[in-house]
């Protein structure tokens, strides 16, 4: 397992964002950071216009997801800034204009830095792996079962970072929804090992990147084999 953290690129992104007065990193930046630590992310490309979007979608392969990129929009879905399951050029064209209208309606003051065209990850069990920097205790990591449950049931567990694999596995067993991953009602068990790897890696990123205050992969989609960080965000210290 590679545990290198690309501290240089993190510091570069953080420095640039802060220099421009931003408190967050944009999704492609966070994904580059995750990828450098070998946390699996979908194939993606940042585009400026629709023609480029179509071109990149052909390159990545359909279906794709279109997402808005803006430092001002932390909750993309709520702002109508995520449209999934685009199967061809026509889908992209209509999604493109729909998204522009959505964003203009919901967050009219947002400055838009571009769009993300991304490989559409197949459905799986959604979990959250996140972390924060506590002023007293320093960096900590969080694991929770994803979706509405996490906000409703607060079914999460925490450890101080960095964590070893054993701790990561242990904290997973502490959430009630853990059994969703072990194969409930005859379902195939999910790749618990891969999730614990992500927890360990994210804890290392937080431990070494002082400039990041909060970092969250939500959702991390878990398959029978492997995981994918479908969405991620970072708030700066």
């Amino acid at each position: 397992m590679c545990l290198d953290v690309d501290k240089k690129s993190i510091d570069k992104f953080v420095g640039e964002a802060k220099g421009q007065g931003f408190r967050t990193l944009i999704e492609p930046e966070v994904k580059i950071i995750l990828k450098a630590s070998e946390i699996p992310v979908p194939k993606f490309k940042v585009v400026k216009d629709m023609a480029e979007a179509v071109e990149e979608a052909e390159h990545i392969g359909y279906p794709v997801v279109l997402k808005v990129i803006s430092h001002d929009i932390l909750h993309k879905s709520e702002a109508g800034g995520v449209i999934t399951n685009l199967k061809d050029m026509k889908d992209i064209e209509s999604a493109w204009s729909e998204m522009l209208f959505n964003v203009a309606d919901n967050v009219p003051t947002a400055s838009i830095e571009g769009f993300l065209v991304e490989e559409m990850a197949p459905p799986g069990i959604e979990v959250i792996v996140g972390g924060l920097r506590d002023e007293q205790f320093g960096p900590a990591v969080m694991f929770g079962i994803g979706g509405v449950a996490v906000e409703l049931l607060k079914d999460t567990s925490f450890r101080l970072a960095p964590v070893e694999k054993k701790e990561a596995l242990e904290m997973m067993t502490e959430v009630k929804g853990y059994r969703l991953l072990t194969g409930l009602r005859g379902a195939e068990p999910r790749d618990i090992d891969a999730v614990s790897d992500v927890i360990v890696k994210l804890s290392r990123i937080l431990d070494s990147a002082d400039g990041v205050k909060e970092l969250e992969i939500n959702p991390l989609v878990v398959y029978e084999k492997g995981v994918v960080a479908v969405d991620a965000r970072a708030i700066l210290a």
Partner: protein
Amino acid sequence: MNERKLDFLFKPRSIAVVGASDVPGKLSTIIMDSLVDSGFKGSIYPVNPKHQTVRSLKCYPSIEEIEDGVDLAVFAVPAPLTPGLLKRANGKLKGAIIVSGGFGEMDEAGRGLEGELKEIVKNGGPRIIGPNCMGIYDSISKVDTFFLSRERIKRPKRGSISILTQSGSFASTAMDELAAEGIGVARLISYGNRVDVNESDCLDFLAGDRATKAVLLYIEAIDEGRRFIESASRCAAKKTVMAVKVGRHAEGALAAMSHTGAISGRYEIYKAAFKKAGVIELEGYEEFIDGCRAFTMQEMAKGPRVLIITDGGGIGVAIADACMDSDLCVESLTEEKKQALKAIFPPYYTIGNPMDLTGSVNDELFAEALEKSMEGSEFDMAIVAALWGPPNLTDRLPGLLAEKAERIGKPVLICTPGGKYTRRKKKLFEKRKLPVFSSPESAARAASVLAGKKGVKR
């Protein structure tokens, strides 16, 4: 920081009480009483320019006038006077306990005074406990700086548990309750606003303190988080460290993470910190008292597997439920053991877990059932529910059970709910170092504390 070691706070050779007088009801008067009545063997120096003698001891006009200096001084004078007095005593004084309020907890001026106190410590002045605290109750060195009369707040006997708390009211309430329950303590420290000495300093001291077998922390907020983890880890490697965290909900509500309601705030981080340090987290006051009771008479258990033995079926089932609610394991006996026990005991006993000896049981059979069923490595501890209704149990039972408990070498807890007659029997068990609990829930709570709260989640 001058000295990290805090021996002079817990084992002082001399104590000065600044502001001492004979005026009844004054804090300093009660502190003088506490020190004299507790049997402190070192020198006690009253300090007050207004008096020649206090409690027929020579009274000094100031700390500087005490020729040999003092290890420890208790300051019970108005907040604004305190920094000046401390500065003047510099060089004559190793440690100070400032019990007075009117500092940072009050207003801006008070925070300014705390700043002055911090400066004094930084410049090599005495180490400070407080302000706004009770200070120390120490059953070993007999230091007692609590300004609460012994009539209202009893002091516990000597024991092996040490308690650290910010809160003076918690310190005194716990002290009084433990005293009433006959549970001993080693050292109890209320450090209040902690301008200097904090929980980590105390943990460092207690880690090396032979008199302390277990440490209990009552925590509102931690100072110096990462240092706490280091100090608590070091201490937990040598002895049992337990903590109650209060203000859990307030912190969850105030400090929710900015973008996900999921991450509910500081309390989760405290939990994570306790785990990292190997600190056992207790869930509030009742568990704190139950844990103290169990811990003071029994050793920690090796695991969460409990055997329940009773002379009343219903209470056995209730204890089994309570154990499982506390994440303990109540597994049934192996077939082999069942057969072995069936061969010894009357056919109408229910051989299982709970093991029901029925109302026909007598002292000897009760004790034998405990010994035989706990043989081997199936169980980590036993809860014995001795109900006193059945006619054949006598005052010999506690002694017989205690002998077996010793032979088994695993914790044995007694659960005896009931009224007047039953309550009178409590002392018989406690005399034999068997902790008694008056409900299934509190017995289960105590068992889960002895298991280090490391049960199985359901």
